[in-house]
Symmetry: C2
Subunit: 260 residues, 2 copies
DNA sequence: CGCTGAGTTGAAACATGTCAACCGGTGTGG
DNA sequence: CCACACCGGTTGACATGTTTCAACTCAGCG
């Protein structure tokens, strides 16, 4: 299993630019208002930046704060003793991370920044205070967790019951739809997907060798291209068909922000 | 794919008896105080009973109430168009079901009673009222969802990265530990596990034929026996080793009740 | 007494993993 | 400035775990 290292600087920089939408290929200005992903607007102890490749928290870290992801991509992952790795979820801006089942428990999964990221940090000591003042917040938290759960269930179904080809198509489509939902009204069929083939493998339960083969076929069939962190959907209908997506479920992905 | 039908009456009855702990093989009286699994004690619109094999809610049902499972086993499952099925979670007493990512959304997964069950039903119309009166409840809800998420991540890791043998061992151990945690101080290595081999397959992402082979080997190796809904752990250490469980994670299973 | 659901078993097919080699780009150190 | 190491990707040959298909048992039930 290859080690996970940092991306070359030039790449992460261009990813971050693309991520923030400052420049895009059709020239439209889609600058992000970062605050639209902020769950708790008033209360915060300050934003934190994490550079690509670092962990927001690792397996075994104590629960000390919850994070509201404002910008960037994050992968949640688990590890087995012998190094096998499973990416269990991709978090996009708006996500809430770091709430565990019991107060002060240790994390059973890690969270790694795939790009440079910006977080809003809410220390645990303040959380109960907020929820008391504004009871709505805890409910939004719960809804956010429910969304994560739904995504996880969907993912699990993919890994457990779909073929390699279906899994890869499903993941590409999921990430494409979720990403595009962040830029409403902005219709592009191309995006920056800050993943390696190995990470796609870790998310789909496949080896990177096999992911490569599947991607090659999809490319040859002119359905989708993924190359060096750029994803281009050539035939959306075909991809949806392969992924076996119920439009119902696709709709659930569209609403990334909790509480709405 | 075989259809899922009801269990024979005699079996479900004995399961329910065992579940309620009215009689156990060592003669100890372990009658359940059903109320210890009640999340919201005061407010309720009444308990509901669901018989084994029926759905608490199905895929596509609207969110109208949340359920607090008080007694019995429930399987959460998803379906693909062609009938492939994935069990994404097993819910035990104390679980909270039916909160979806957006108000009034439709369920993307179903919930099927594996035994006769008892639920406390809290209609959605009352939920906001409760959380306003007692802000703590929403937070306990969130913690409960966080636990479900953790379980789902763990499950996903199993399906994505473990071999068939490891997956089956892991599932048996998970259910054993979670079940036993409900009867503190009660040390038995035998339990009623109200599943068919096909359901184990649906939970682990395997075919029931292969599950059968794996179980047969585990039986021959005198590690664990599963036969007609009785599970007996013969060599716990060996099973833990095969399952590749981090004791850390096992501890997280132990606390089934939210908010503690 | 036949039917049905669950479990069991074997043989063959096939999807995916493993191992190994090689390519091109990027950063790095001499 | 070049040589080198390293990472991510690509490809082929082969190994193997799991599925598929099919037949058969057993128990409970009408």
């Amino acid at each position: 299993m290859r080690e996970l290292k940092q991306l070359p600087n030039s790449l992460t920089k261009s990813i971050a630019d693309n991520q923030r939408g400052q420049v895009d290929r059709d020239g439209a200005d889609v600058s992000a208002d970062i605050n639209r992903f902020r769950l708790i607007s008033g209360y915060r102890s300050g934003d934190r930046r994490i550079e690509a490749g670092r962990d927001l928290f690792s397996i075994g870290s104590p629960e000390d704060a919850i994070f509201n992801l404002l910008d960037g991509w994050v992968a949640l992952y688990t590890l087995l003793e012998d190094g096998r790795r499973q990416i269990v979820q991709f978090a996009l801006p708006g996500a809430v991370l770091g709430l565990f089942p019991t107060r002060g428990a240790q994390a059973t999964f890690g969270a790694q920044a795939l790009t440079d990221t910006v977080l809003c940090v809410i220390p645990h000591s303040k959380l109960s205070e907020f929820t008391r003042d504004e009871p709505d917040i805890a409910m939004r938290l719960a809804r956010s967790l429910a969304r994560d759960c739904n995504l996880a269930f969907d993912h699990m179904t993919s890994i457990g019951r779909r073929s390699a080809r279906e899994r890869v198509a499903h993941l590409l489509l999921e990430l494409f739809v979720r990403y595009r939902a962040q830029w409403p009204g902005h219709r592009i069929e191309e995006m920056c997907l800050p993943l390696t083939q190995e990470q796609i493998g870790d998310a789909t339960g496949l080896t990177f060798v096999h992911v490569n083969r599947v991607l090659r076929v999809l490319r040859k069939e002119r359905i989708a291209e993924f190359h060096y962190r750029r994803l281009r959907i050539l035939d959306p209908d075909k991809l949806i068909e392969i992924a076996g997506i119920d439009p119902q479920i696709a709709m659930a992905w569209l609403d990334q922000r909790p509480g709405s």
